[in-house]
Amino acid sequence: MNPLSSKPDRHDGIIAGLLWYGTLIASAVIMTGIILGAVAQIDGAPGLAPTGYALIKLGVVIFVLLPITRVALMLVIFAHARDYTYTAIAALVLAIIGVGVLLGL
């Protein structure tokens, strides 16, 4: 057994928490947006429609950012554990995602 590989149990819990609560928040924001959109249409309150759309968009953006935040969190965890090989690997993944976003611009 490699002693390095059995350690990060505690960290698994932190990562699980980030992904779970992030999913809850993003889902709640999208649901609120959809409900506002529905109210705008049914009640004929068109002022709410742009807010509803903005909330749906915000929820989608939170979802896209969530795994990226997870990689950043892992980078911090590895750096904190002075595991520099893995800190570099996590940084590389973030850099690749960054290049992808730049390509999209």
Partner: protein
Amino acid sequence: MDIATLFWLFAAAFGASMLGGMLGMASGIFIVPILIIAFGVDIHVAIAASIVSVIACSCGSAAPFLKGRLTNIRLAIVLETATTLGAITGVLLIGIIPTPILYGLFAVILVLSAQQMMARRRDPALVVTPDPHSWASRLGLHSTFPDRQLGREVAYQVARVPLGLSLMYGAGVISALLGIGSGVLKIPAMDTALRLPIKVSSATSNFMIGVTAAASGGAYLVRGDIDMNIAGPVALGSVVGALAGARLLMGLPADKLRILFAVILIALAIQMMLSALGIHLWGTGL
């Protein structure tokens, strides 16, 4: 957008994802055909919207695997270098590849998924002594997981990391090109190349899918390719459906469900192949 359409998008994603969740499979592969066939959405719009729901499902279902210590997060981050690189390759390719080829590629992946649905996965024979000079040993990837049936920790070795990385690159390209999680390619790669125990490979694959999809999803987002009125309700429906499906897992006969799914996958493959050839059996669009 009409609120009824938003509701139907949510309901369709919920249904597909709940059925998928019962078999422990991601629903991304159903989302794109549903959007194209039932909602008349352009394939590129469908792909960009689907990628968001793929991210949502991966994030939403990660926690129990992590808490059960089935996810090998070190292996995941190593392989994510390859999947994200594949994903941005896919982002570059999607603008160039002709639409009929995308349909054809999708049909092939659907057939592979059907085949995988019917195949039995087997745990690889565990190798006792790891090669100390292999990539996996140097990177400290070997680990253990708690096996509930045996009631003890089971140690496992990770084999052939370079082969795994190249297969993961391909899985990343396909994920970005088709708006799917590519579990259909990741799982065989992890089972056969890396020789992981099934539970570890499923959990780790699911964990990586989110980052892979975020690499292409981020690019599609800044490019303005994501239609929020489609992506929003579909992501919400997928995540709620997957959670509901995972809880219904016990109730239904899995073998019959598998056959049903394989049949649906083949039917969708035929439809996508016909679209690739420019034949439309029924009018698309509401």
